[in-house]
């Protein structure tokens, strides 16, 4: 973790530098013809959703490593990934309906992306709940939830896909004009940096806590 320890301040500075001009870039981006200013949520919503997705992947992979290899560092990554998935997922779930209300005239639509995102968000909330309230051995139980949650994604996606999809698809992104592409790409990088920084800080916190527990226990011995 020493490399990560040295990286964290650099990452934090880079994240701050990226976020500082982002509001001005987004302000400067042209208004979209039909949606107007509401469209600017997109610069926030999509990067947050991407970060939530990354958190889910980190949690799923790390949970599997912890479950079958009993790697404690993997457990710290899994917990941090789950927390970030819930945090960024919440941003996604709040900003999405704000946009939808204007675009579709409704707050919520049971379409495939929205439903999948909601179900996955609930899976990671349940990961944190079992971790918090499960008592001794809850690391293992939450790891099962992480692994099952990861295996669940295609099933939720396919099963919800039978309903009509009205969410804009990812091929919106390449069709953006350069004036919108710039702030969008900038936001994506800023969020990814923020995600990485938070992940490393959180993992380091968890690792330090485990070290403290070990030291405490060793002293008792």
């Amino acid at each position: 973790m020493t490399l990560a320890t040295r990286l964290v301040p650099l990452l934090a500075i880079a994240t701050a530098l990226m976020f500082a001009p982002a509001p001005f870039m987004i302000y400067g981006a042209p208004l979209e013809s039909t949606m107007g200013v509401i469209q600017k949520i997109f610069y926030f919503h999509v990067p947050a959703a991407t970060a939530a997705f990354m958190g889910a992947i980190v949690c799923g992979v790390a949970s599997a490593l912890f479950l079958w290899r009993r790697n404690r560092l993997a457990d710290h990554f899994a917990l941090s990934g789950a927390e970030l998935a819930v945090l960024f997922g919440l941003i996604m779930l709040v900003t999405g309906p704000l946009w939808a209300r204007k675009a579709w005239g409704i707050w919520w639509q049971w379409d495939v992306r929205l439903t999948t995102a909601l179900v996955m968000w609930m899976v990671f909330v349940s990961y944190l709940l079992v971790r918090r309230f499960g008592g001794p051995g809850s690391e293992m139980m939450s790891a099962v939830v992480g692994v099952f949650g990861m295996a669940l994604v295609p099933f939720v996606y396919i099963s919800v896909n039978f309903w009509r999809t009205i969410h804009p698809t990812t091929n919106v992104v390449p069709s953006l004009p350069a004036s919108m592409m710039w702030p969008f790409g900038w936001s994506m990088i800023a969020f990814t940096l923020l995600f990485t920084t938070l992940l490393l800080v959180r993992v380091r916190l968890e690792t330090n806590r485990a070290m403290l527990e070990d030291a405490y226990v060793a002293m008792e011995d």
Binding site: P136, E213, V217
Partner: protein, 241 residues
């Protein structure tokens, strides 16, 4: 049971074994060896680590650090078959209340793949002095009857290592006498017997070794002519690290 013949051990070792639950220390760096033909008494207040030590030896708990060796091999190398050689009488008795005594014994006997099961079950019912009530549901038994049945359930597969958590609970003097005699026979047959108990009267004259536990630490106390209770009090009054 081809594996059983090969899988045997003459002693069990705890090597610097610790077990923690978060910050709570249940057992701290304990090294002890138990051999065949011994009855070892584990004494200590509630939460001192008696059950944790039994859990480690029964392979249901893994040590946080250190190891548990059966003969000279760790439990992980020996696989699921190791449990053919371990018998556990838990504090909660491990019996199905809605099954009869005979059904309980038969069910576990089948899981352990015992040959001549019917005959073995009959012998076990005899030992527990439950022949007349063998076909009554266990939920209707008194604590003492259940305790006797649970012991025979734990011993049904002739385990090498016998782990008993409070075996004298709920037994009247008569039954306690039978239990002590049963444990002496086990010792004579070459079993390694560990017993966690608070009952000094029944343990007196029965245990060959005495291990006192406090706060996750174990200390062996020589068994000589003196009363166990006095030895225990004296040990507990000493300075512990």
């Amino acid at each position: 049971m081809p594996s059983q013949a090969t899988l045997d051990f003459d002693n069990v070792h705890l090597r610097e074994a610790s077990r923690h639950y978060g910050r709570r220390r249940a057992l701290a760096r304990t090294s002890l060896t138990f051999g065949r033909g011994e009855i070892v008494g584990l004494f200590g207040p509630n939460g001192a680590g008696k059950s944790t030590m039994l859990g480690l030896l029964s392979t249901t708990l893994h040590p946080t650090t250190g190891s548990v060796l059966f003969g000279d091999r760790p439990a992980a190398d020996l696989g699921d078959d190791l449990r053919h050689r371990i018998g556990v009488l838990g504090h909660d008795l491990f019996l199905y209340g809605d099954l009869t005594a005979r059904e309980n014994l038969r069910f576990f006997g089948q899981l352990y793949e015992l040959p001549n099961l019917d005959a073995r079950v009959q012998v076990a019912l005899d030992e527990a002095r439950l022949v007349e009530r063998a076909d009554d549901r266990v939920s209707g038994y008194s604590r003492g009857l259940r305790q006797r049945l649970a012991l025979e359930r734990a011993l049904l597969h002739d385990p090498r290592l016998v782990l008993l958590d409070e075996p004298f609970t709920g037994l009247d003097d008569d039954s306690a006498g039978f239990l002590a005699a049963r444990l002496r026979r086990l010792r004579a047959s070459g079993a390694i017997v560990l017993m966690a108990t608070h009952d000094f009267d029944n343990a007196a004259g029965l245990v060959d070794r005495m291990v006192c536990l406090r706060n996750g630490r174990a200390r062996e106390v020589a068994v000589d002519g003196r009363a166990l209770r006095d030895r225990y009090r004296a040990t507990m009054a000493e300075e512990w690290p």
